[in-house]
């Protein structure tokens, strides 16, 4: 009995050794492509222009019609939109060469580009455009966040290269919505599942974009190569390898070792790491235009915050410039307007609320919040001026800003309690209106400014609810609905100016800073430019010096 056990145990031990040896041996053969590949192996590889970058998450299933886990930048390498969003919100032809909009703003007719082929060589035409729209519309509730999907009535193939979509009601940002990375981009016939329902998965990622997925190992790496059938100007580099590196410090070390050619994105490395790489002088660094605004959302349904003077006092009572310099190390820019001026319709003159603690104190005095002698917190009718700011506890910038505001506002007699929450809880509390103050961000290009005004008017996101204490809320909502349905450019600009000015004056959304994307590049990488669309990939025009 014991002898048998001994034998069994010995064989188990031997198996474990054998398995681990085999596992180690196996891994040797599946070596991930590295940044330096292409320098030594053979002559053909030497001429290949390749770059390697990192991304925190796996690129996902590369389904153009669904969301997580697919990563936007990678989807935009393979799939293209009808219309492309460029700097300043300019909409340019992409797979559609031109388009016309009927006078009532309901019918959109697109003339499609004729020489376009998918990466598998099949033709791009109105039929495949309709097939993609149909696949998206099979599950409209999945895409209910997107304006154009909510108002889409029907789609038609007019002729081989003409596609028409009809809306239930006029909705001016429809074209802008079509420039998004998802859900309306175009998958080739070979990628469709047999039942045509892409929400459950696709067969293969076939797109018309400049890149195609050549090699992929989930959670490890993805290799993109040039699409040989690309209709536009072919990329200057041959190969892009995306390594999945979830840890920010590891990303920096891999870059310093030369395993990565660039680190790109929003918050992909710490601000300290960015500055230290920049100051080393060994690498090139760049900051993008503002991609969004870091703001404070003030809940106007709260009695204390329903008073404009209190909101203005809070805005005047903290030093944005010092926060931007001290907390974001200058990587963000002080924000005076709720939306930065590089979006359509946002270039309006506003009187920024400057940092002035005397003025802040005067506003509070005027509102009846007096500082009793010997006390540090203002009071009114026996009630203390005490507020709660909720923040995402995993976000070091929100935490530092919350602590700074707590100190700054205590100087003007406001007691701020700060509560760190998990992101999901923070969002839940925002939507339920269970907060006094909260951090909030707009969506960026190409979603804004129409997505921003939409959440100011529509309930369900927490912003409309928080703003519902504003005396002119109904009027504001009316103006927003008019702006979204307006077909007249001048009227639309007027409406936007009024809406943004009202919000700005009401100080219910307090801009703090403009968030920017960062990139750190090895010196051999040239011609890098940030995409105008926040979600697009930045590889158009990028090159390397061999």
């Amino acid at each position: 009995m014991i002898r048998t056990t001994k034998k069994t145990l010995l064989s188990i031990a031997a198996t474990i050794f054998l398995v681990s040896t085999v596992l180690m041996a196996c891994t040797k053969q599946e070596a991930a492509p590295s940044a330096s590949s292409g320098t030594t192996e053979n002559a053909a590889v030497v001429t290949e222009k390749a770059i390697t970058l990192s991304w925190p998450r796996d690129i996902g299933t590369m389904n153009p019609h669904t969301y997580n886990p697919s990563q936007l930048f990678a989807q935009s390498m393979i799939y293209e939109p009808l219309v492309s969003y460029k700097a300043g919100g300019k909409l340019e032809p992409m797979l559609a060469e031109s388009w016309t909009i009927s006078e009532d703003g309901k019918e959109y007719t697109f003339k499609l580009r004729q020489n376009v082929k998918f990466s598998d060589g099949t033709a791009f035409n109105a039929a495949i455009v309709k097939k993609n729209f149909d696949a998206v519309m099979k599950n409209p509730s999945l895409h209910s966040w997107l304006g154009v999907i909510n108002v889409l009535d029907k789609t038609e193939v007019v002729d081989e290269y003409t596609f028409k979509m009809t809306l239930k009601q006029a909705y001016y940002p429809a074209i802008q919505d079509l420039s998004l990375v998802r859900p309306v981009r175009f998958l080739g016939e070979a990628g469709f599942p047999d039942d045509g329902d892409t929400s459950k998965g696709i067969k293969e990622p076939v797109g018309t974009g400049p890149w195609m997925l050549a090699e992929y190992k989930k959670d490890e790496y993805a290799v993109f190569t040039r699409n040989p059938n690309y209709w536009g100007e072919s990329p200057k580099i041959d190969k892009i390898t995306v390594k999945i590196i979830p840890d920010a410090e590891t990303r920096v070390l891999a870059f310093e070792k030369g395993e990565l050619d660039l680190i790109y994105g929003e918050g992909v490395i710490s601000m300290d790491a960015f500055n230290s790489l920049k100051e080393s002088g060994k690498y090139a660094t760049q900051l993008s235009e503002p991609v969004g605004t870091r703001s404070l959302l003030l809940n106007t349904t709260n009695d204390k915050l329903s008073d404009l003077r209190v909101r203005l006092a809070l805005q005047a009572g903290f030093n944005k410039q010092a926060m931007v310099e001290g907390i974001t190390l200058g990587l963000e820019e002080k924000a005076d307007t709720i939306l930065s001026k590089n979006f359509p319709y946002t270039n309006i003159d506003v009187q920024p609320v400057e940092y002035n603690t005397d003025k802040a104190a005067a506003y509070l005095d005027e509102a009846g919040w007096k500082l009793p002698s010997g006390k540090a917190v203002r009071e009114k009718d026996g009630q203390a001026l005490e507020l709660e700011l909720i923040f995402d506890k995993t976000d070091p910038i929100q935490k530092a800003m919350a602590e700074t505001m707590q100190a700054e506002w205590s100087a003007i007699g406001v007691k701020l309690n700060i509560t760190g929450l998990e992101l999901t809880t923070q969002i839940q509390r925002r939507k339920a209106g269970e907060f006094d103050l909260d951090f909030w961000y707009n969506y960026g290009a190409p979603y804004d400014p129409h997505s921003f005004i939409n959440v100011v008017a529509e309930k369900g996101w927490g912003v409309s609810e928080a703003n519902s204490g504003l005396p002119m809320k109904q009027e504001l909502d009316q103006q927003i609905h008019e702006a979204l349905a307006s077909t007249d450019e001048t009227k639309r600009q007027q409406l936007y100016s009024t809406i943004l000015l009202t919000l700005q004056e009401q100080s219910a959304i307090v801009p703090i800073s403009y968030i920017k994307k960062t990139v750190v590049l090895q010196n051999k990488v040239t011609d890098f430019a940030f995409p105008a669309n926040r979600d697009e990939n930045p590889f158009e025009g990028i090159n390397i010096n061999q």
Partner: protein, 314 residues
Amino acid sequence: MISYIGRRLLAIVPIILFAILITFVLIQVSPVDPAEAYLTAAHIHPTEELLAEKRHEFGLDQPLLVQYGRTVVKMAQLDFGTSYMTNEPVWEDVVSKMPATVQLAVSSILFAMLVSIPLGFLSAIYKNSPIDHFSRGLSYFGASIPQFWLGYLLMFFFAVKLDLLPVEGKGSWENLVLPTLTLSLALIAIYTRLLRASVLEQLQESYVLYARTRGIKQRIIMVKHVLKIAISPVITGLGMNFGKLLTGTIIVEQVFSWPGFGRYFVDAIFNRDIPVIQCYVFLAACLFIICNLIVDLVQLYMDPRISLKGRTDQ
């Protein structure tokens, strides 16, 4: 023996049922609605209509007892549902990620044993010698340094400065070196001190003295008698740590971009990926029980005086 193993395996059932119950209750009392967690993870705006649809799909509109019963039946069939994050069946995800974690855990344990057994043994025999001081220093260092920090340090020196090894990834055996070193240092710290103490204890036993008086060679006494008995607590620790490593390589996998189970689980926690969390708890319970069973069997092999019933009079 077989009936003993059978009994131990059967004991897994109530423990697992209890583990499932605990996760089930925790999810019920958690303020996060699984339907909302799913939609948030998928970047879909959770409208009331969609929430109701998802709650129905997940069976969350059923009575609690029915929900628990369903969970148990499904788990018994290794059906853990679909991950909110990856949209793939959880079990398939786990099966595809487990080999990487097993590889890391096995190599760390092997390396730790390789270093700590001779080191612990020698530092006991040569008490207060330089080797003992070295082992003490190493253990102190290994036990006190945080793993993520050690990982960065090793990466910085061996990969960036000396350019000997890759920073991250799971390509060749070279990629395995730094994560293995990082994980095994803490184990080396424990095992070395454990073995040293155990050997010193055995050296005080009378059988060592008798063996010496019988003229048995010192080397034979040490290896054949002392080490064989002294290693017992190390084996117990090893069994406990193997389960711990399999479920707890989270930090090291994150730091070294090792595509294993730990990293998958961290993402699941952040995204409230409940099916994955449930699967993790289930697996962790199973692994700990099985590792304990294996340790008991190895102990039995090493020291036949330990009986199957836990008494020495059989």
